[in-house]
C-alpha cells in the first residue's frame, strides 16, 4: 500500500528549480533512501513534504488523502515527522524536556488541569514521561536525561532529534542525514537502531544520506536526485549500476569512497 505519493512536485527559488517535477511513491513500511550530490534538492524536497515550502507545482498525497495545502503543524498531527540537517533541538532545555515536548500533540489536558493538578494532568504527564524514558533508554540517552540538550555530543543530538520524531507514534519519519558528524561505529550502531525502530514501531522511513555505503546496506528502495531532477530509482544494486547515477553522483572523481 502506498503511504506517500508525490506527483511531479516542484519548487522554484527565483530562477533556480530546486526541485523539478519529482514524482515518488513510498510504500508503507519501506525504508526508502534519498541520495544525490550537494545542492541536489534533497532537503528542499523534505521541506515540501513537511509543508515548510508550498510547491509551485504538483500534488502530495499521504495515506490516500491530498495534503498539498495542509500546513506544517497539521502534518505532524497526521503522522509525518522529520529531523533537521542543521540540528534544531530546544537547546536551552533538558534532553528529557525535548522528548516530552514532542509528545504534546498526544496530550489533551487543559490549563486548568495544570492549575488544579487534576488526575488527568498526572496521568498524561506520567504517560509522556514513561514514553520518553523508554525511547531515551533505547537510544542510550537515559543517563543524560537531565543534561542540557546543547551539552550533548553531536551524534547524541542527532539521536535526540530522532527520539523527538518517534514520541508521537508517527507513521512516516523523514531523517535528514541522521549520521552526519558521527564516526564509523556510531554510524553502524545508528543504522541498526533505525532498522530496529522501523520494525518495532512499524514505521515508514525516508532517509537522506551522504554516506553511500550506508544507504546501500540499509534501504530497500533508493531514489537519486540531481539538480532538482529525479534521475533514477530502484533497488540499491540497480541504482548503483545506473550509468546516469554513476555520472552524476558516483563519478570517478568523487571522493565519497564508493566502488561501483
Amino acid at each position: 500500500m502506498t503511504l506517500l505519493k508525490a506527483e511531479s512536485l516542484s519548487i522554484q527559488f527565483g530562477g533556480l528549480k530546486a526541485v523539478d517535477k519529482v514524482s515518488l511513491e513510498i510504500e508503507k513500511g519501506q525504508l526508502f533512501g534519498l541520495i544525490g550530490p550537494n545542492g541536489a534538492g534533497k532537503t528542499t524536497f523534505f521541506n515540501l513534504l513537511t509543508g515548510v515550502y508550498k510547491p509551485t507545482e504538483g500534488k502530495l498525497f499521504f495515506d490516500g488523502q491530498e495534503i498539498t495545502n495542509v500546513p506544517t503543524v497539521s502534518r505532524s498531527h497526521l503522522g509525518i515527522r522529520r529531523t533537521f540537517q542543521n540540528i534544531r533541538l530546544f537547546k536551552g532545555l533538558t534532553v528529557l524536556e525535548n522528548a516530552l515536548i514532542a509528545f504534546d500533540q498526544n496530550m489533551s489536558y487543559s490549563l486548568f488541569d495544570s492549575f488544579l493538578k487534576s488526575s488527568k494532568f498526572h496521568l498524561q504527564e506520567k504517560e509522556a514521561y514513561d514514553k520518553a524514558l523508554k525511547l531515551l533508554t533505547l537510544f542510550k540517552l537515559d543517563l543524560n536525561k537531565n543534561d542540557k540538550a546543547s551539552d550533548l555530543s553531536y551524534g547524541a543530538q542527532r539521536k535526540l532529534e530522532i527520539i523527538r520524531t518517534l514520541m508521537s507514534d508517527p507513521q512516516l519519519i523523514l531523517l535528514d542525514e541522521p549520521a552526519a558528524g558521527m564516526n564509523h561505529s556510531e554510524t553502524a550502531q545508528l543504522m541498526d537502531l533505525i532498522k530496529k525502530v522501523r520494525d518495532d514501531f512499524k514505521l515508514t522511513i525516508l532517509l537522506i544520506e551522504h554516506d553511500m555505503k550506508l544507504v546501500m546496506g540499509l534501504c530497500e528502495q533508493i531514489a537519486v536526485l540531481d539538480h532538482g531532477n529525479k534521475i533514477a530509482q530502484g533497488r540499491p544494486d540497480e541504482v548503483s549500476r545506473d550509468p546516469q547515477v554513476i555520472e552524476a553522483y558516483l563519478g570517478p572523481d568523487l571522493d565519497s569512497g564508493v566502488t561501483t
Partner: protein, 329 residues
C-alpha cells in the same frame, strides 16, 4: 482541595503576617508593601511572555491601565454594589478588569505576535502610547485628570484598611504565582519554552506557535489587568500618564533583573525596584543632593554586569535553598 494545601497554608501565614505589619509599621511602609505585591503580579505575568515564551513585549503598563480604568469606572458607577458586597464586589471588579485586559491582549496579540523581536516591542509600545493618548481625550474617564477618589478597600471591624487591602492583594498575588507556577510545569510550560527556543522545530512537532504565543499574551494581560485594578483601589487616583512608557520599562526591568523565566526572581526584583528609590530618597535628606536616579541606575548596571542573567537566572528560589542546604551537609 488537597492540591491547594501549600497555597492555603501560605495564605494563612500571610494573613497573620498582615496583622503583625498592621501594628508594627507606619502607613508609608505599609503602602510600599502593597505596591511590591501589586508589581510582583505585573512582573511575574510579563515574565511568562518575555521570559518563558521569549517574546519582547513593551506594553504591559497599557494592559494595567485597561484594568485600572475598568475597575475604577465600575466602582464609580456602582458604588452601592461595593457597599453591600464588600470584598466580593472588589473581587468581581478585579475579575472583570482582568478579563477586559485579556481581551485587549488578544486583540493586540493576534496580529502582532506574528512579528519577531524588535517589531513586537514596537507594536506593544505603540499600543501603550495609543491607549494613553486615547485616555487623555476621553471625558467620561476624566481625560487628563484621570479618575480620583476611587473607593478604597473597606475596614472590617478591628481589622484596619491596611490589613484588608493586604489580605486582598496577597490573595491575587498567590493566585497569580500558583497559577503561573503550575501551568509552566507541564505541557504548557514546555509549549511556551519551545516557542522561545526554536519556532521551526516547534511547528514540525505539531505545536501551533501562534496560538501558543497568543495564549501566553492573553494570560499575562489578564494578570496585568488585575494588577491595574489593585493599583486603582490602593492608590485611589489614576491618570493616563501613570501607566505610560516608564512603567512598562520598569516592569521589563523587573523581569530582566530578577531573571527571565524565574517567577521568584520577578518578585525579588519587584521588591528591589520599589524599595530602592525610597531608600535612596531618605539618603537625599542626609546628603542634600538628589543622587536617587544616579545610584538607582548604577545599581542596576552593576547587577547586570555581575549577574548578566538576572539575580536568579532561570532558576526559582527553592533551587538555591536546596543548593545551600546541600553545601552545609
Amino acid at each position: 482541595m488537597k492540591n491547594f494545601k501549600l497555597p492555603l497554608l501560605t495564605y494563612i501565614v500571610l494573613l497573620v503576617l498582615g496583622l503583625i505589619l498592621q501594628f508594627s509599621f507606619n502607613a508609608y511602609i505599609q503602602i510600599l508593601i502593597l505596591q511590591i505585591l501589586m508589581y510582583s503580579i505585573a512582573s511575574m505575568s510579563l515574565n511568562l511572555v518575555n521570559g518563558f515564551t521569549g517574546q519582547f513585549s513593551l506594553g504591559h503598563a497599557g494592559f494595567m491601565a485597561v484594568g485600572a480604568y475598568t475597575s475604577a469606572f465600575l466602582s464609580q458607577t456602582f458604588p452601592a454594589f461595593l457597599e453591600t458586597t464588600h470584598l466580593f464586589g472588589f473581587f468581581i471588579f478585579s475579575l472583570i478588569a482582568g478579563l477586559i485586559a485579556s481581551f485587549f491582549g488578544y486583540l493586540v496579540g493576534l496580529p502582532s505576535l506574528r512579528l519577531k523581536g524588535d517589531y513586537l516591542a514596537i507594536v506593544t509600545l505603540g499600543f501603550g502610547e495609543i491607549l494613553r493618548v486615547f485616555l487623555l481625550n476621553i471625558e467620561p474617564l476624566g481625560a487628563a485628570r484621570g479618575i480620583s477618589g476611587i473607593i478604597p478597600y473597606p475596614e472590617l471591624g478591628f481589622l484596619d484598611r491596611f490589613w484588608v487591602s493586604f489580605a486582598y492583594v496577597s490573595f491575587w498575588f498567590l493566585v497569580c504565582l500558583v497559577f503561573l507556577w503550575r501551568i509552566t510545569r507541564g505541557r504548557y510550560g514546555r509549549q511556551f519554552m519551545s516557542v522561545r527556543e526554536d519556532e521551526v522545530a516547534a511547528l514540525s512537532l505539531g505545536l501551533s506557535t501562534t496560538q501558543i504565543k497568543v495564549s501566553s499574551f492573553v494570560i499575562a494581560s489578564f494578570f496585568a489587568g488585575v494588577a491595574g485594578s489593585l493599583y486603582a483601589h490602593l492608590i485611589s487616583i489614576i491618570t493616563p500618564t501613570v501607566f505610560g512608557f516608564m512603567m512598562s520599562v520598569n516592569i521589563v526591568v523587573m523581569v530582566v533583573l530578577g531573571g527571565m523565566g524565574s517567577f521568584s526572581g520577578s518578585i525579588i526584583a519587584a521588591a528591589f525596584m520599589t524599595v530602592m528609590p525610597e531608600v535612596l530618597r531618605s539618603l537625599q535628606s542626609v546628603t542634600g543632593i538628589d543622587l536617587r536616579m544616579i545610584l538607582f541606575s548604577l545599581s542596576l548596571i552593576l547587577i547586570m554586569i555581575f549577574k548578566p542573567h538576572g539575580l536568579l537566572g532561570e532558576h526559582e528560589l527553592p533551587y538555591f535553598l536546596k543548593k545551600m542546604r546541600r553545601k552545609k551537609v
